[in-house]
Point group: C2
Chain length 292, copies 2
């Protein structure tokens, strides 16, 4: 059996599953301080004797294997977690091969192996929720470099009718600052879920998401893009995003995927809300294989 941790800002989802990406058991533990949350997580896995474990966590985190602080949580606004040696603690306690990456990288890996991007060599997974983040698989491997990507904080052109200043504490009107759930709520004065029939809300949202996807396409050319997260539950954005992407690309790419077949290129998660948890199982399997 393999273990998977999806560590989010409000809850940790811990799961047990197999190499086929099937989740057989799961629990949810509220995210408090590491001292409160982690012992519960460890206990859950100790009782189940997992052979390996994969962690997909909120960030920023140190994913550089050669770094002395590899596996630590970095400068997160969740102060109790700053500098927390997440990877090391899990490894020390459970003593099994442990994989460690961001929540969105794990989701990208899950969708790549068992979800909407199965059978391809590359894909990108973006979540539009409380924050915006994305992870990618390139040539079959997770995209990492100096750090993990921070694709939510790219620069976008403002919509001409948008008078909201943006709420990213670092960049004000970056993509996340204009298009994550809380930005939608601040701009329009209501939660997204209460504005399903307000076309102008989703037109503006799609305008921003499409710009971001165009940047990802020009830079990474993934073979498929999966959009998850709470805001993507608003299904009407998918056709709007696809239309905007096509019109922004303006025929520059001749690939069917970016033209007549764009509905199969920009898609919802194949694993629904399980992408991250399943990705953790894939990470665990990789960690096990590397050990052997």
């Amino acid at each position: 059996m393999l273990g998977s941790i999806e560590a989010g800002g409000t809850k940790f989802v811990c799961g047990i599953g197999n190499e086929q990406g099937e989740v057989l058991e799961r629990i949810s533990i509220p995210t408090k301080t590491p001292d409160e949350t982690i012992p519960e997580v460890i206990e859950f896995f100790k009782k189940r004797k997992v052979e390996a474990i994969g962690i997909g966590t909120f960030g920023p985190i140190d994913v550089k294997k050669s770094s002395p602080t590899y596996g630590h949580v970095l400068n997160t606004p969740k102060l109790a977690w700053q500098n927390y040696p997440f990877f090391q603690t899990v490894l020390d306690e459970l003593q099994v091969p442990t994989g460690f990456t961001t929540d969105v990288n794990a989701a990208a890996l899950g969708e790549y192996q068992f979800g909407a991007a199965k059978g391809l060599d590359s894909c990108l997974y973006i979540t539009v929720g409380t924050g915006i983040g994305a992870g990618a698989v390139v040539n079959g491997e997770l995209l990492e470099g100096l750090s993990h990507p921070e694709m939510g904080h790219i620069i976008v052109r403002r919509h001409p009718d948008d008078h909201f200043e943006g709420n990213c504490p670092f960049h004000k009107d970056c993509f996340e600052g204009l298009a994550a759930g809380p930005a939608i709520e601040k701009r329009w004065g209501k939660k997204g879920i209460e504005m399903t029939d307000r076309k102008e809300v989703w037109k503006m949202e799609a305008y921003y998401i499409a710009q971001a996807l165009v940047q990802y396409i020009m830079i990474l050319v993934p073979e498929r893009i999966v959009i998850g997260g709470g805001v993507a539950h608003q299904e009407s954005i998918f056709p709007l995003v696809r239309e905007n992407v096509k019109s922004l690309l303006n025929g520059y790419f001749t690939h069917q995927e970016l033209n007549e077949n764009i509905a199969d290129y920009i898609v919802a998660p194949g694993l629904k809300d399980n992408a991250g948890l399943v990705g953790g199982l894939v990470l665990a399997r990789h960690a096990l294989e590397e050990e052997e």
Copy 2:
């Protein structure tokens, strides 16, 4: 001996070198039609009995190995080259292992192996010249997906003082449409090389280049960025670009490379104008190794 072809819009540079990336002999052949240019190229290499060859070419090209048109030049404005089976022709004529990628990918590979990014696991090479393009090495491999990247065509925010409409035939005011050499010339009415002392020219140029680098950093987080191409001969842009990148990132990344050490992060090519040709030798070596 290994062979390398750097295929550009005005000339083909053909070189002979070794596995250490040393170029021992080179010639330059004007880019006319394939029927005129390619036989000269083939003749050069036939006489020198190369064991393998690497091609870095202008694009767009088909780099998807599973594609029926792998190795072809795609919808280039150089009409004589459209649909030209570049890779196949070289392979058929020379009958040696042949590597094939874009000019900027080859340059990225050259800088990664023997130039400014030696010893790292990732890097990005961008050329700002007649066009703008970039290639990247991720986890030690060239970044490719559905296609090769088209990083010159990303969306940028217009500089408030910029009244030039942009000259990209697809997107008008994309990055390339506002910041490549010809855009500089059209906006200001003079060639870049004649405006070395016009501070406002290079401030605006750096504004655009820095935005692009921020997008590349947020999305790819390369361990180093190398800027080549004719416009980058204008050395005063380097400090301006670095300052702009820092102020746009605004401390979001805490890595030294993106803060106090940014002068070692955004750099000129270590191989000067040889990055592409040396990258071709690396490609040739890879092709040879894959064969064995």
